[in-house]
């Protein structure tokens, strides 16, 4: 059964069957990753370009590894500034890349909508590796994979996304995807970090982390950006940590056992206390492996459609 779309631009509108197919396929590939020879010839002869307009070593390496494990030819194309500043239009860049006979493009960009724009000007399969504050579907898929691995299911699982929801690309993808597979989704953070109209997506909003912990099975904790601009949204790191940080003391006081995910790297003492962060080493490493497996699944399913 193939995927219903040629591209993975986001999880908005992606049917449950597609998400589960990707996760099931990822399970098969995770087995490959445990073998001594971690390579399959599935995408031999296919060329994949990793087009990164934004620095993200983790995501790029994860994709690159996935491409190599599938025997695809991987090309990295990093552009440090936006096309406007460079004086070359985005369209020109894509024309140049397409001339290299590329089959798939993995794109990361600081502006929302770029992957969609790419599908309008190119014939390649496009995979969104993060666009602005819009979507980051493979990150969300690997979160789902990890949740399913830990809890054995997604249907009915209660997941709360904690942190700066408004400026996150992972939050929206999580919301769309989790709703599709029948999980319950909520968000928790300072009011300034919750985007308007989010309730219209059927998402509950918490402003008290204790309530979020008590009423959920999983906390997907986002990394808080510490740059000056992001800091306009809350008074101080101390205040953020005291009111929204996950600490051992808080969990003990609530007597609640909860699965915690974090995309990494963790800001210790901000969104997670050091003890919690230490206890998460294992799951973070698993997340890295799961990330490769999920990206292999996406590349494979899109790359072998015809």
């Amino acid at each position: 059964m193939p995927l219903t779309s040629r591209h993975l631009l986001g999880l908005q509108g992606v049917p449950k069957e597609d998400i589960l197919l990707i996760l099931d396929t990822a399970t098969t590939f995770k087995e490959v990753l445990d073998r001594p020879i971690k390579k399959v010839p599935t995408l031999q002869g296919k060329t994949v370009v990793n087009l990164f307009y934004e620095n993200s070593t983790r995501t790029r390496i994860s994709f690159e590894l996935a491409e190599k494990r599938l025997s695809a030819d991987a090309l990295n194309f990093s552009v440090s500034t936006s096309s406007v500043k460079k004086g070359e239009t985005f369209k020109d860049t894509i024309r140049n890349i397409e001339a290299m006979k590329v089959d798939m493009i993995v794109v990361r960009h600081s502006a929302a909508g770029v992957p969609y724009f790419l599908t309008q000007i190119s014939n390649c399969n496009v995979i969104n590796a993060g666009d602005g504050t819009h979507e980051h579907p493979t990150q969300a898929l690997l979160d789902f994979y990890s949740i399913r691995e830990k809890l054995g299911r997604l249907q009915g699982v209660r997941v709360c996304i904690v942190g700066d929801i408004a400026h996150s690309r992972v939050a929206l993808s999580n919301i769309f995807g989790l709703k599709a597979v029948g999980a319950e989704v909520s968000v928790c953070g300072p009011a300034t970090m919750i985007p308007g109209f989010i309730e219209d997506l059927g998402v509950k909003v918490y402003h008290r982390i204790d309530d979020a912990i008590m009423e959920n099975d999983v906390l997907n904790v986002l990394r808080i950006q510490l740059e000056r601009k992001a800091r306009e949204y809350f008074p101080s790191i101390r205040e953020y940590h005291n009111y929204f940080g996950i600490t051992r003391e808080r969990l003990d006081r609530l007597g609640k056992d909860i699965l915690i995910l974090h995309p990494g790297p963790i800001n210790r003492g901000v969104e997670l206390s050091s003890e919690i962060a230490d206890g998460m080493n294992q799951i973070i490493l698993q997340q890295v492996t799961n990330g490769v497996a999920v990206r292999m699944a996406v590349l494979y399913l899109l790359g072998t459609q015809n």
């Binding site: 936006s82 369209k91 502006a111 819009h134 690309r169 985007p195 219209d200």
Partner: protein
């Protein structure tokens, strides 16, 4: 030259004129209104205009010509041609050129360049030097050179103190300050803040960023008994504020663009950069309020905010794309389709909002349809069905979200300054 406009409906609410007749025009002057005699037809070129209307020439008070500075996007000449093609005999051009229209020299330069065009071009002077919001521009000199209003359009006059001074100073000439109402500390995003901005992950611009400046402007205008004109009004609250202000006798006028009464931010869903404008496309509730405000007179006129941009400037990431669309050549079609045929406005109201009120706001005489008057007319067919084709635009730029859109209502010809623009060419009349 002598021409005859035969079987036309002469329409001008200012003169209570609405009758089927014929017009003889000689050397640009209306010399006869009434039946055409065989004598008349013998020595004049006759145009049969059955079921077409003529009214005072349409006027667009918010146009960005890019000259001086960005002649690659639009020049005074191509802008005037686009205006004629779109059905206008007069436009006011905004001062955000390079250099800005902040000196008498630039006003004179534009007027000089536009002198022989069919379309009258009225420069709007800058409120502040280089539109920086710091020092008042030489408003008296600008006025004497021919400026018809003052604006720092593109941005609001940020400092309330500077705006106060400008409003007071402009009172001496009975000219309005045209304000682009946007609190830039709240704005700065790429689209309207709504459910759609959350879905699309685009940085949002809240409607309250407009409302705050509109309220400030209205309060200052009231306090100083001065004239304020709200450019491209786009929100429900702003419309309510203007309505309230008018009921209190505040000297306010307001314009709306065709895209703000035709489209909502649903149009942004494809990340088409031709749906990126400032103010941004808003919600259904805002559009509904705007239609109501057009109907009850809260909004005085329709203006295009014609903003030409080169293709390569728009073919970029949505967040990086410049704001605005070309509008001169779709304005009449959109207005008739969305307002007249959907029974929001009567034909009389249409002409007020397309030809009359903008001139009143800018103290420009309203052309008359009477013997002895200069023929300054738009001939239009409210019922003609046509499809927008950006490749046919006379504007140098093609950035429009309305390509391939089916419209009903179109300009047939424009006449002014002894010339007629008809079917793509100019004829001496």
């Amino acid at each position: 030259m002598k021409i005859a406009l035969k079987n036309i409906i002469a329409f001008n609410p200012e003169q209570n004129l609405n009758k089927k007749t014929s017009l003889i025009i000689e050397d640009g002057i209306i010399t006869k209104i009434g039946n055409i005699t065989p004598e008349d037809s013998k020595n004049s070129k006759v145009y049969d205009l059955t079921d077409k209307y003529c009214s005072p020439g349409f006027f667009d008070m918010h146009v960005h010509l890019r000259e001086p500075g960005r002649e690659d996007k639009e020049t005074i000449e191509t802008g005037a041609l686009a205006a004629a093609n779109g059905g206008f005999t007069g436009i006011a051009c905004m001062p955000n050129t390079t250099p800005a229209i902040d000196s008498a020299e630039v006003v004179t330069f534009i007027k000089e360049k536009a002198k022989n065009n069919l379309v009258d071009i009225f420069p709007v002077g800058a409120v502040t030097v280089e539109r920086k919001g710091e020092l008042l521009s030489p408003m008296a000199e600008l006025y004497d050179a021919g400026a018809v209003a003052f604006s720092d359009d593109g941005v609001a006059v940020k400092s309330s103190r500077i705006l106060r001074t400008a409003l007071e100073y402009a009172k001496m000439f009975n000219l309005p300050i045209i304000d682009h109402c946007e609190d830039d500390s709240l704005a700065g995003g790429a689209m309207n803040e709504s459910f759609n901005s959350t879905l699309l992950g685009l940085p949002p611009i809240p409607s309250v960023a407009e409302d705050i400046i509109v309220s400030r402007d209205l309060l200052l205008a009231e306090y100083l008994d001065a004239r304020i004109h709200i450019a491209h009004i786009s929100t429900r609250r702003s419309v309510e504020l203007v309505r309230m202000a008018k009921s209190r006798g505040i000297k306010v006028s307001a314009e709306v663009t065709p895209h703000h009464f035709t489209l909502t931010d649903d149009a942004v869903k494809t990340y088409d950069t031709n749906t990126k404008m400032n103010p941004p496309l808003r919600t259904n509730a805002d559009v509904t309020a705007i239609l109501e405000a057009l109907k009850d007179g809260t909004i005085d006129c329709i203006a295009s905010d014609h903003a030409p941009h080169a293709i390569e400037e728009k073919e970029v990431e949505f967040e990086d794309a410049p704001n605005g669309i070309v509008g001169l050549e779709t304005q009449i079609g959109l207005a008739f389709t969305e307002l007249y045929h959907k029974k929001i406005l009567s034909l009389e109201q249409m002409i007020e909002k397309l030809a009359i009120n903008a001139r009143k706001i800018l103290n420009i005489p309203i052309p008359k349809i009477e013997v002895g008057a200069e023929a300054n007319l738009t001939i239009f067919d409210p019922d003609e069905i046509w499809t927008v084709d950006i490749s046919k635009f006379k504007s140098k730029s093609k950035n429009s979200p309305f390509n391939k859109r089916l419209l009903q209502g179109r300009s047939v010809a424009v006449l002014n300054k002894g010339k007629m623009y008809y079917k793509g060419s100019f004829i001496e009349i």
